[in-house]
Amino acid sequence: SVSHSQITRLYSRFTSLDKRENGTLSREDFQRIPELAINPLGDRIINAFFPEGEDQVNFRGFMRTLAHFRPIEDNEKSKDQNGPEPLNSRSNKLHFAFQLYDLDKDEKISRDELLQVLRMMVGVNISDEQLGSIADRTIQEADQDGDNAISFAEFVKVLEKVDVEQKMSIRFLH
C-alpha cells in the first residue's frame, strides 16, 4: 500500500489536472499534458487509466493504475505468499504492459496488434514490408506453442533477462 505523503502528493497532482474540478479526469485532461502528446504511446497509456467503456476516472482509479509502478520494496518480497499479489509485483507490471499491446483483450498479442504498436514506435522511414518482417521475427522468437501470437507467458519469458522491477518503477517521492 501507498504511504500517506505519497497519496497527498498524487492527490494534488490529480486536482491540478482536473481542470473542471468535478473530481474526475477525462481523456482531454490527460491530453493536456504536453509531453504526453509527443509520446508515441500516448493514447494507449491514457486509455489504460479508464476502465472498460468509461470516459471518466476518479482518484481511486487514478491511484490504482499508478500503483502498478510503485517500486518493489525489499521487505515485501518475502511477505505472505498466500495473500493476493500486490499490484506492483513483477508479474502484474508486465501484465499492465501486455494489456497495452493487447487491445482486444484476448490475452494474446496477434501480428496485427504488434504491427500497430510497431508503427507507432518507429519513424516514417520504414516501409510496411520491413515492419512486417520485424513483427514476424519478434513473434517467431517468442512463440513457443506455435499459434503465431504472443501469449502472456511467452511475453514474460522474452523479458526474463530484463530488470523489469527497476525499469517499471518510479519513485513518487525522494
Binding site: 518482417s133 517468442a142 518510479i170 517521492l173
Partner: protein, 577 residues
C-alpha cells in the same frame, strides 16, 4: 595609406574573419571533426598564427588581454548557454548540479592546493619559495571546469540529456565559487596577518556572490520582460533589448564583485518565457540566430587566442611542478566525483552510473577562464611558473582528454553491449516499456520538485504574468507552438495545392518518405536478416525524451532531432484520428 586610422577595427575584423574561415575549413573535410574536436583544431591554428607572429616580429605575440576575454568574449557564450538551457532537466537536477559545482570545486581547490604544497616541500625540485597561499591561489584558478571547453567537446560525444546537463550546469555554476576563492586567496596574499574572522568572511562572501548574482540577473530579466511589453509598435529593436539587458546584468554583477556568469544565466532564464511571449516571431528568430552567431564567434576566437598566447617568453618550465599539477587535477577530480556521486545516489532512483561518473570526471576540461585568471595574478617572481603550468593543463585537457574521451566512451559502451546482444523482441519491448514509463512519469508529475514548481507556477500566473506579459495569455508550451506551426504549414500546403476545400487525404510531408525497398519479404526468417533488422530498429525507433543532448551550440532549438521526432509523431497521430 592610412593604416593607423583604421588599425584597431581592421585587425579585430581580420581576426574574426580568420576564425570563421577556419571553421569553414574544418567542416569541408567531413571526417575531421569527429576525430579531433574543433577546439583542438582552433588552438592549433592559434599556435600556428602565434608562431608566425613570433617569427615575424621576434617578440612575444599579443597575449590575450584578460579584460577583453572577460568583458567581450565570455558573455555571449554564457548568454547563449543560459538562454537555451532547457529548464526542466536543469531544475530537476539542480541539487546534484549545485553539489558538484560548489562542494566539488571546493574539494578540488583544497585538494590540489595542499598536494602541490606537499610537492613544493621536496628539496630536489627547487620550489621551496612557493608558499601554501600561493599554491592555494593557483589551485583556485586551475580547479574550475570551464564551460567553453566542456561544451566544445561534448558536442562531439553524444551523451544522454541528464549527463549533459550535469556537466554543463556544473561548469557554469562553479564560476561563483571560483571567483570567491580566487579573490579571497588573492587578498590573503596581500594581507600580512590572516585572522579566522577573515576566513569566515570569505565563506559568507560566497553566499553573497552567488545569491547576489542571481538577484541581479533576475532583476534585469524582469525589467527586460517588462520593457518588451511595450514594444508593440517598434518591433525592429526588440531583439536589442534582450542583448542589452543581459549584458548589463553581467557588467553590473562584475561591478559589484558578484558572479557575472551566474547573473547572466539568471537573467536569461528569467526573461526567456515572458520575452518570447511578448516579441514578434521574427524578432524571436533574430534573437536566436544572433545569439548563436555571437557565441560561435566568441568561442572560436577564444581558442585561437589561447593558441596564440602560448607561444612566447611567458613561461618558466619547472617540469616536476607542471607534471604534478596535471596529475593532481585528474586525481582530485576523479576522487571528488566518486565521493559526491556516492552521496547523490543515496537520494535518487535515477542513479548516476559508473560510466556517467567516468564521463563527468574525465570531461572536466579546463579552458580559457583559467588562462585569463592566471594573467590577472599580481606580478610576483613565480608567476611565470603558474602561467606555464596553466598552459600545459589546458592544452592537456583539451587535446588529450578532448580527443580521447570519445573513443573511451565508445569503448565503455561496447563493453557493456558485448554481454549479450538483445533479441529483436527484447529491443522492441524494452523501448516500449521506456516510452510507457516516460508517459507515466509525465502523468504523475516529476517527483520532488513538483511542489516548488507548482508554487512558482501559481505565483507566476497570479502576479508575474499580469505585469510582464502584453496580452494576458496562457504562455504556450513549445509543443503547442510546434503543433500550431505544423497546422499553419499544412494549411499553406493545402492552399497551394488547391485542396483547402476538401478533407486532407495525405499530409504531403509523410507521403514522399515511405521507401519501398526490394527486400524479399518471404525470406524473413533468415538469420542474416536479423542483423539488418537490429540495425534498422536501432536507427529508426523513436527515442525517449531523455536520451538526447539537452543543449547544442551549433543547432537552433527548432532544428534538433527530438523536435523532428516530435513532428513526425504529431503528424502520425493526426493522420490516425
Amino acid at each position: 595609406l592610412d593604416y593607423q586610422h583604421v588599425q584597431v577595427p581592421f585587425e579585430i575584423t581580420l581576426w574574426i574573419m580568420l576564425a570563421s574561415l577556419a571553421k569553414i575549413g574544418f567542416h569541408l573535410y567531413n571526417k575531421l571533426p569527429s576525430v579531433v574536436p574543433e577546439s583542438c583544431l582552433l588552438i592549433f591554428v592559434g599556435l600556428i598564427m602565434g608562431g608566425i607572429i613570433y617569427g615575424l616580429n621576434d617578440k612575444s605575440p599579443p597575449v590575450m588581454d584578460s579584460d577583453i576575454f572577460f568583458l567581450y568574449l565570455l558573455p555571449p557564450i554564457v548568454l547563449d548557454a543560459g538562454y537555451f538551457m532547457p529548464s526542466r532537466p536543469f531544475f530537476e537536477n539542480i541539487g546534484t548540479i549545485l553539489l558538484y559545482a560548489v562542494v566539488g570545486t571546493i574539494w578540488n581547490v583544497f585538494g590540489i592546493g595542499f598536494s602541490l604544497y606537499g610537492i613544493c616541500q621536496v628539496r630536489a625540485f627547487h620550489l621551496q619559495d612557493v608558499s601554501l597561499l600561493h599554491n592555494l591561489l593557483f589551485s583556485s584558478l586551475i580547479a574550475a571546469v570551464d564551460p567553453v571547453a566542456v561544451l566544445a567537446v561534448f558536442e562531439e560525444i553524444h551523451v544522454n540529456e541528464k549527463l549533459h546537463i550535469l556537466v554543463f550546469g556544473e561548469s557554469l555554476l562553479n564560476d561563483a565559487v571560483t571567483v570567491v576563492l580566487y579573490k579571497l586567496f588573492r587578498s590573503f596574499c596581500e594581507m600580512p596577518v590572516i585572522k579566522t574572522v577573515d576566513v569566515f568572511a570569505g565563506v559568507g562572501k560566497f553566499f553573497v556572490v552567488g545569491i547576489g548574482g542571481v538577484l541581479v540577473g533576475l532583476t534585469f530579466g524582469m525589467t527586460a520582460a517588462f520593457t518588451t511589453r511595450f514594444t508593440k509598435d517598434i518591433r525592429v529593436i526588440e531583439p536589442l533589448f534582450v542583448f542589452l539587458y543581459s549584458y548589463l546584468s553581467y557588467l553590473t554583477a562584475e561591478m559589484f564583485h558578484l558572479s557575472g556568469i551566474v547573473a547572466i544565466i539568471a537573467c536569461a532564464m528569467g526573461m526567456k518565457r515572458y520575452v518570447e511571449a511578448n516579441i514578434s516571431l521574427k524578432s524571436h528568430t533574430t534573437v536566436k540566430y544572433f545569439m548563436k552567431m555571437w557565441s560561435s564567434v566568441s568561442d572560436t576566437l577564444i581558442f585561437i587566442f589561447l593558441g596564440v598566447s602560448t607561444i612566447g617568453e611567458n613561461h618558466e618550465w619547472n617540469w616536476p611542478y607542471i607534471c604534478f599539477t596535471v596529475i593532481f587535477c585528474l586525481i582530485w577530480r576523479a576522487l571528488g566525483v566518486l565521493v559526491l556521486t556516492f552521496f547523490v545516489n543515496r537520494f535518487h532512483v535515477n542513479t548516476v552510473t559508473s560510466k556517467d561518473q567516468f564521463i563527468i570526471a574525465y570531461g572536466g576540461l579546463r579552458g580559457a577562464i583559467c588562462f585569463s585568471l592566471v594573467f590577472l595574478l599580481p606580478d610576483f617572481h613565480r608567476k611565470k611558473l603558474f602561467i606555464a603550468a596553466t598552459t600545459v593543463v589546458i592544452l592537456f585537457t583539451v587535446f588529450v582528454q578532448g580527443m580521447t574521451i570519445r573513443p573511451l566512451v565508445d569503448l565503455l559502451h561496447v563493453k557493456r553491449k558485448r554481454e549479450s546482444a538483445p533479441t529483436v523482441g527484447e529491443q522492441i519491448h524494452i523501448r516500449f516499456l521506456d516510452h510507457l514509463l516516460a508517459g507515466i512519469e509525465d502523468i504523475s508529475g516529476h517527483w520532488g520538485q513538483y511542489y516548488w514548481k507548482d508554487k512558482l507556477e501559481y505565483f507566476n500566473s497570479k502576479y508575474l504574468q499580469k505585469i510582464l506579459l502584453r496580452e494576458y495569455d496562457q504562455p504556450k508550451s513549445s509543443i503547442v507552438l510546434l503543433y500550431e506551426k505544423l497546422e499553419r504549414k499544412h494549411a499553406i500546403e493545402l492552399a497551394e495545392a488547391g485542396q483547402l476545400g476538401h478533407a486532407p487525404s495525405h499530409p504531403s510531408l509523410l507521403s514522399d518518405r515511405t521507401v519501398i525497398t526490394d527486400k524479399k519479404s518471404e525470406d524473413t526468417l533468415n538469420p542474416d536478416i536479423l542483423e539488418n533488422i537490429q540495425e534498422i530498429l536501432a536507427r529508426n525507433l523513436y527515442r525517449i525524451r531523455r536520451t538526447g543532448p539537452a543543449y547544442s551550440r551549433h543547432t537552433l532549438p527548432g532544428e534538433t532531432e527530438p523536435v523532428e521526432q516530435a513532428k513526425e509523431i504529431l503528424i502520425l497521430q493526426r493522420r490516425s484520428l
